[in-house]
């Protein structure tokens, strides 16, 4: 499983999944207790993301598009008289999101799942990986579906659509999920194929 994994291979790709995950955990703790490191780690994390090539730069652009949300946090904290805290929270988010993106873009999903399974032995890594891959695959498809509906609305309406498209879009999404589950079932389901009983004639 690859999912968000991106090429070309870089220095980050050659590091072990476990070490990267551990580094991310340590970073989380570090930034929580000593936020002073943020102003060093923020540019470093963004540089690391850019070093992953076009996909990394693309991800950074996506992160930067969150600016209205970040601005809202800073404004709120300024309003309650803690603008420094607002800046710290935003910088912490931006750093950790960039670091987490470096991890997912440079690590195969099955390698990450193997680490998770070592930490949590009861969790089915396979099913979790399939679920995650399905989410990654579905997001652009769902957005496209919504955009197509929006276009269809605009083609026949003088006013822009607001909440009117949400219900039919959700119904279509549920219907699509039925089809996707059939396709998954047609290739053995999320658990994979059980062992073939010896009494069965056909084989593969």
């Amino acid at each position: 499983m690859l999912s968000l994994y991106s090429l070309p291979e870089t220095w980050w790709h050659r590091r072990r999944a476990g070490s990267k995950l551990l580094a991310l955990c340590v970073l989380c703790v570090l930034l929580w207790w000593w936020p002073v490191f943020l102003w060093l780690l923020l540019p470093l994390s963004w540089a690391a993301l850019c070093s992953l090539g076009p996909q990394g730069r693309n991800t950074l652009r996506w992160l930067l598009r969150l600016w209205p949300w970040w601005l809202a946090v800073v404004l709120w904290q300024t309003w309650v008289g803690q603008w420094e805290l607002g800046l710290t929270v935003v910088a912490r988010w931006a750093t950790l999101l960039a670091c987490a993106s470096v991890l997912t873009l440079s690590t195969r999903l099955d390698a990450l799942m193997a680490v998770v399974q070592r930490i949590l032995p009861g969790v089915s890594g396979r099913r979790f990986a399939i679920a995650l891959a399905l989410v990654v695959r579905s997001v652009p498809q769902l957005l496209d579906g919504y955009r197509a509906r929006e276009l269809a609305w605009r083609a026949r309406s003088l006013r822009p659509a607001r909440h009117q498209l949400i219900a039919p879009w959700l119904v279509d999404t549920l219907r699509d999920s039925d089809h996707v589950s059939l396709a998954l079932q047609a290739r053995g389901g999320s658990r994979g194929l059980p062992a073939l009983p010896s009494s069965t004639i056909g084989d593969n």
């Binding site: 999912s3 089809h179 396709a183 079932q185 047609a186 194929l193 069965t200 004639i201 056909g202």
Partner: protein, 220 residues
């Protein structure tokens, strides 16, 4: 080894008959199923793929029935769905191709998938979402073919393809060894079939040689 329907019928939850009862032995290597929209073609394919169980009767094949060992069916029967967006499960081409083989427990699934992409360099890490309709169809078909099933079920295989892509797909299907059961309302997809079954309102209206059945279907 052929698939057989024995008085198989499908009813909806309200008890209305959708398909059957049908008794068919599907032994020819190329079988076409023709009929207008809503005649039961896709339901028939779902029955044959063990994706749906008959309300009565059974689907037999490979020494067992779908009721007994439906979960094993993907080893023997591959399905190419009509809508590629419903079939593509993974974000990248290589994941999509390797998935079925991994499900079969093949340790070299990814190497085989890479091999299948030898003629299309640079495709392995392409996002399936960004592929064209014809390219998506190619990935769907290839993902199923790599599982090396004995039977291939194709639901409206040429839908969404342009003329050139249709020709290419038909040529590719003609070169395959496994049994094919093709459901389509496009007679062009079925003209090379040894046997064509014409479904109407869930029942067999006619069956026989492709030329005769398709002509009757077009005249109706």
């Amino acid at each position: 080894m052929s698939l057989t329907l024995e008085n198989a019928q499908v009813d909806d939850p309200q008890g209305r008959r959708i398909l059957g009862p049908l008794s068919l032995q599907l032994s020819e290597s190329r079988i076409g199923v023709v009929g207008n929209n809503g005649c039961g073609k896709s339901t028939l394919l779902r029955l044959l793929a063990a994706l749906q169980m008959p309300s009565q009767g059974c689907v037999r094949g490979f020494g067992t029935t779908t009721q007994e060992q439906g979960e094993q069916w993907p080893r023997w029967v591959g399905v190419v769905f009509q809508n590629t967006d419903h079939q593509l499960l993974f974000p990248t081409v290589i994941e999509e191709l390797a998935f079925g083989m991994k499900q079969l427990g093949w340790p070299d699934a990814e190497a085989r998938a890479q091999q299948a992409l030898a003629e299309r360099p640079g495709w392995a890490y392409r996002r399936v979402h960004e592929l064209s309709g014809g390219e998506k169809k190619w990935v769907c078909l290839r993902a199923v073919l790599l599982m090396q099933t004995q039977v291939l079920l194709l639901d409206e295989p040429s839908s969404g393809l342009d003329q050139g892509q249709r020709r290419q797909l038909r040529a590719e299907l003609a070169g395959l060894e496994q049994q094919q059961i093709i459901a389509s309302h496009d007679p062009q997809d079925l003209q090379h079939c040894e046997r064509v079954i014409w479904l109407e309102q869930g029942r067999v209206r006619a069956e026989g040689a492709a030329s005769e059945v398709l002509e009757a279907y077009l005249d109706a």
